[in-house]
Symmetry: C2
Subunit: 197 residues, 2 copies
């Protein structure tokens, strides 16, 4: 039997992630049955679950993927810019890369997150990259003298993440984006250093 | 046949709302079957759907109920205080009165809100009371000179509501409340009037 190359494995993994992402986005977590995952990925259940232990692991891998991509943008441009990208064009390529196409699916698992301790732990670990990138960016901003210095960086990190959670929820529900650009201006300004503060 | 008094109708309506609220909180929107709604309210499906056209109407009546109660607290104490109450004791009586016990259920319908235009319209109407109360409170604060006057009241209203959406999502997912008290301090301060602004 020929040895399967790492490149091939990575490509296969990517194929499964991309297909199942659109499957989750279209049918929701519960609605994304194994049969539909097979159709969406073009692979057999055997192949899919060779790479991911179960549907939950697949779902968490997508969440991790999103967090990692968001973290990259955060490192370059900050979390407020991530939010502006989401807002600008929630169905655009950039927003899709940040996981906007299945924001609703993420909300759908909220009951599960609340009631299933182990699932919540795994979810929290997946989001850790985003928190770390946000904190690092804010720390750098503080050293550059751009960040207010009367509030702890951890608090400002939690503040920006809370606004992101609100935006995700808002967009996932398809609610009107009225005023939200200006809202992000308020958010951005409220973490900045001001004269006299 | 004796005429049914308005008081009796109101009491029955209340009985249905209270029972179905805990049913939705426990089983989720999909899981709250007609049989379970009967058990939770102690009433027959005939009696329940005499008062509410269907499950959707019942669900939206609960959302309206929550928005109205929140609006009362907002008028007295402001939206930041509503958030502090939710945060302080998410399972306490005050938070329950604000609908915290079924926050997760509200998230569960996000897919439906996004894809079903009519449902979203009805939902938006139900939340209108909260927006109106928040705006009125901010306008009053501005007249009292406590509110920053360089940002439109509608933008500040949308800002506070976005933070509330984030908090609802955060608590519904059972994520840790670490730093959130201090985060609300940042939020409150960012809508206040400052010397030199």
């Amino acid at each position: 039997m020929p040895r399967v190359s790492q490149d091939h494995l990575d490509a296969r993994r990517r194929q499964i992630l991309d297909g199942s992402r659109s499957c989750f986005a279209r049918f929701g977590y519960e609605g994304a049955t194994v049969r539909r995952l097979e159709e969406a990925t073009g692979l057999s259940r055997g192949a899919i679950f060779h790479h991911f232990k179960d549907k939950e692991s697949l779902f968490l891998a997508l969440a991790e993927d999103d967090a990692a991509r968001m973290a990259d943008v955060v490192a370059e441009q900050g979390l407020v810019q991530v939010m502006r990208n989401l807002l600008e064009d929630p169905t655009g390529a950039e927003a899709r890369a940040l996981g906007a196409d299945w924001l609703g699916t993420r909300l759908e698992v909220s009951r599960r997150l609340r009631t299933d301790h182990e699932f919540r732990e795994r979810w929290a670990q997946r989001s850790e990259a985003l928190t770390a990138a946000t904190r690092a960016r804010l720390q750098w901003q503080r050293q550059s003298g751009n960040l207010r210095d009367d509030v702890d960086v951890d608090v400002l990190t939690a503040y920006l993440e809370l606004v992101l959670e609100g935006l995700v929820s808002h967009l996932a529900m398809g609610l009107p984006a009225r005023h939200l650009g200006s809202v992000l201006d308020v958010v951005e300004e409220s973490v900045r250093r001001h004269r006299g503060r």
